[in-house]
Subunit: 347 residues, 2 copies
């Protein structure tokens, strides 16, 4: 029997890893190359000292509290470049539009991309537009690609981080003892979209946290001691920490009471049976930092407007092989990567 | 009344220029930058000596005689980098898949991308996969981005081309007297898709010409004297030559009898009332060459397997402001850019 593609095959969780390994990576590994290659499945690739990334965006609806598909498109690629330890230079935009939507909708997405690019200080230098017949896509999908160059402060950052596997802030660079920091509250983006879709358009105070984090990343690298950084998108913090743990071959222990979660997100998750650690952000980063530098790095993050709620939430450890959480009631439980994304089409 | 997006707004012709100027470029010009910038709307952008491009692909059906959406994805970006005078280094792939298609379909597209990348000698280094609910996209769309580096032979090429506006093979680089070369037969890709869609699946001998042309471009640049190059996709040769003419502010005069067109394409166009000069290719380039070098460059092109049918089809001239064609019956007619694409979703 033929296998059909299922929604969770593209949801960012474990099923997606299986699907990609079976049908995609197997073949693309034959054409792989570069210093940080496809086989490392990191946030960006690096070749010839060019840091390079792409993301497809299928957010629905296109506009939601706190953002829209255009803002996600720019911020997503800007953040993927930044968490490698690079400065995003240029973005390329591929728009695929369904005929019959209003030109105003297209223009509003474009304006939003422009504003995000201006805030990040990146140039939108090239693009492509296709219009398809009704049903060809639902309203609009877009893909954004970006390239960046190495932050000049990265060498000094690693002097303060100690000897590491790579000279970039890769997922495999964590060592036991590193402190784990998240730059702000968990699950804002996913719950903002979920509440909006479910019809709580006016009652819910939850806004998406979508934001360009390149300035924040530059500031922490200037401070120094960062080993690894990753933006927490689909599958939320749980998915991100599991990827970091398995690629670095190190356990990660976190403390539930240390997790920053907005009260509105916590209560909305409670009502619908979600756990904020599984819900995606679009403006938060998890990073691993040399423990001696962790407090100072935290201060730097908190000074940035996108890092006010940052917290040290745990540490890397060789006591465990995967991600565990000390709960508020005194227990210890394993944190698995979500199988699929509980909230689809959030990015 | 609100304006709605029409299919021809994304078809590569004049309507698309109007749409893009009104709703997209106006805003993105505020974030523009680099040596070859968005405002030049060339095949690729150049910034920090990195050549950078993106394309969205909405080919339907996904598989057709001579190729598939995956092959178009790789070849399209490889060619966009190559016609600037650059060597494509790395490709990034964004797959957006409709749930419920077979995994085999995805895998076959992936295999085809791999094969095209191996032939071109580029690395697929990063990617992103999203799966959307039924109706989110029709089967699959994909976007491909690539970056490249300057061909080392480009300076010598321009010594042989004479003084030009830019040091890349840009659309605005043509001068009166340049010979215009096309690297092969016109309209193969569009008519292959059209015949296949109309149900002439087995009778029609027409195959898409989709191919990676980076090796061919490198060979001609090594020979030298190329001023400008552009791959002829949506809107065919007519659209491409009009873009070259208007950006270079020079007339282009071509000779109908010199145009290479396969007999099957000519007769199929005749039946359906199409003109092969308006029909897209995916493996052909138009270029402008110093007249003293044109015969030698033509020889080099003809030695490449994708250039056997290449021909000198005319020249740039200051006698006209736009594109004119000396017809086989002895007349002279203006060649306009098609308003939309006569055959939609060909790339």
């Amino acid at each position: 029997m033929k296998e059909l593609v299922k929604k969770n095959d593209g949801a960012g969780g474990e099923m997606m890893q299986t699907f990609l390994n079976k049908y995609v990576f197997k073949h693309f590994l034959e054409t792989d190359g570069g210093e940080i290659s496809l086989s490392m499945a990191d946030d960006s690739a690096v070749m010839n000292d060019v840091v390079f990334t792409i993301d497809g965006h299928t957010v629905y609806p296109l506009f939601f509290p706190g953002g829209d598909i255009g803002k996600i498109g720019i911020c997503g690629t800007v953040n993927d470049i930044s968490v490698m330890g690079a400065i995003p230079m240029a973005v390329a935009v591929s728009l695929i539009i369904e005929e019959g939507i209003t030109s105003e909708t297209v223009e509003n997405v474009v304006i939003s991309m422009k504003e995000a690019a201006l805030e990040a200080g990146v140039n939108i230098v090239t693009g492509d537009t296709k219009v398809v017949e009704r049903g060809g896509v639902k309203e609009m999908v877009l893909s954004t690609s970006a390239f960046g160059k190495r932050m000049p402060e990265l060498d000094r950052n690693f002097e303060l981080a100690g000897k590491r596997k790579t000279r970039w802030l890769t997922d495999n660079n964590i060592m036991p003892g590193d402190k784990i920091i998240v730059t702000g509250t968990l699950g804002d983006h996913g719950m903002a979209l979920f509440n909006f879709r479910e019809g709580y358009k006016f009652e819910s105070p939850i806004q998406s946290d979508v934001a360009p984090l390149n300035h924040l990343m530059r500031e922490v690298v200037k401070k120094g001691g960062i080993a690894s950084a990753k933006d927490m998108t689909r599958g939320g913090m749980a998915n991100t920490l599991n990827e970091l743990s398995s690629k670095s071959k190190v356990g990660i222990k976190i403390y539930e009471e240390a997790l920053p979660v907005k009260e509105a997100v916590r209560s909305s998750c409670g009502i619908f049976g979600y756990d904020p650690i599984n819900i995606g952000n679009e403006g938060k980063i998890a990073m691993a930092v040399n423990p001696e530098m962790a407090d100072e790095v935290l201060k730097v993050i908190k000074r940035n407007k996108y890092g006010k709620d940052a917290a040290i939430i745990g540490e890397a450890t060789d006591e465990y092989n995967d991600v565990v959480m000390a709960t508020e009631i005194g227990g210890m439980r394993r944190v698995d990567a979500p199988v699929g994304d509980p909230i689809p089409r959030i990015c």
